[in-house]
Symmetry: C2
Subunit: 204 residues, 2 copies
């Protein structure tokens, strides 16, 4: 790459398209936030029917301390997407053999999409029948950390792997997304990622 | 500013907060896409009750040629926001005295927020009672161009100002947004803009 890239060029990128694979699908199971593998999911415009995160709206929780707890708000968290490559990076950083997607609440595991967690909001993840809109990076949470600890070292005291997860998974935790086009998504199908034009915004 | 900014630093920015003012508010009027000034708007989580763009979902149209016309889809277009500064830049570029926000479908006119159209998706626009989420830049369209032509040169043939608008307003047309927190917004109130951390995503 040239060393003479202009500052302006680095601040903007045109629209990009990349391909990946929907490796696996999961729906919620007990105890929260665990999920179980399924071959396909019929998405409607509110998400996965019959599950906790289904709905155009949801109640505000600890992620939104600036709203009153329980206030009805736009959801933005219908679907959780994580990548196989970032899961591997998390387990390497935590020095454990594996972090399974079904331990931490994932609905979709992708492969082949670099830096999934960094996909900007507004990116479309296009399946054969359905389309998702990326809303935001997912925040690593201690509930998911506890689920990992339960599987990997069930007899350990709190303060180990449960805390390591939020620390080590930062920037690798995947994204939350909303359904733009309803339809059935299937494990193993090809997906197309459409990243909109990007410009870094600065107030100065 | 230092000339030795690293490429990495230019590719990422931390969260930013900036202040602005809600200068004016508008709701839809006839003929489409015109709007009329109001002192306040009571937003619910689907937008502005009783108006064309109200709803969690909408029918796909010419903006989404990849979906069948009329397919029910996630809306993302409840509210249209434009800035006084960018309206001035549009009228200067079109060499006309003014482009009024109520001619082109705006619901909210801001001042004091630089480069409103470049605000990344996921940015929160926080009012005293309500919060909006920026979804995407608005695309300049020929229907709005026709509305401008109707006001500025009602006797002119098509192919003048109606076409100049989409060409000259590119990157200045404001953003479309969704309601995250319901509440009444008021002309003249202060607004806070919360821009999330940004990193340019590249597949390479």
């Amino acid at each position: 790459m040239s060393l003479e890239i202009s500052a302006a060029a680095l601040r903007s990128l045109p629209a990009q398209v990349t391909k990946g694979v929907c490796e696996a699908l999961f729906v919620e199971a007990e105890p929260y936030p665990e999920t179980q593998a399924v071959a396909e999911i019929a998405l409607d415009l509110q998400g996965i029917p019959g599950t906790r995160h289904y709905g155009f709206t949801r109640k505000a929780g600890p992620r939104e301390p600036w709203y009153g707890r329980g206030m009805e708000m736009r959801s933005g968290r219908q679907i959780t997407v994580i990548s196989r490559e970032e899961l591997s990076a998390i387990s390497a950083a935590m020095q454990v053999a594996t972090v399974a997607p079904e331990w931490i609440g994932a609905n979709i595991v992708t492969s082949g999409i670099p830096h999934l967690t960094l996909l900007p909001a507004g990116t479309r993840i296009v399946f054969a029948e359905a389309t998702l809109v990326v809303e935001a990076p997912n925040a690593p949470c201690r509930i998911a950390g506890k689920a990992i600890a339960r599987h990997l070292s069930p007899d350990s005291a709190p303060g180990g792997l449960d805390l390591a997860f939020p620390a080590k998974a930062k920037g690798l935790r995947g994204v939350v997304a909303t359904v733009e086009r309803a339809g059935t998504i299937r494990a193993g199908e090809a997906i197309t990622v459409k990243v909109p034009p990007q410009t870094l915004w600065q107030s100065g």
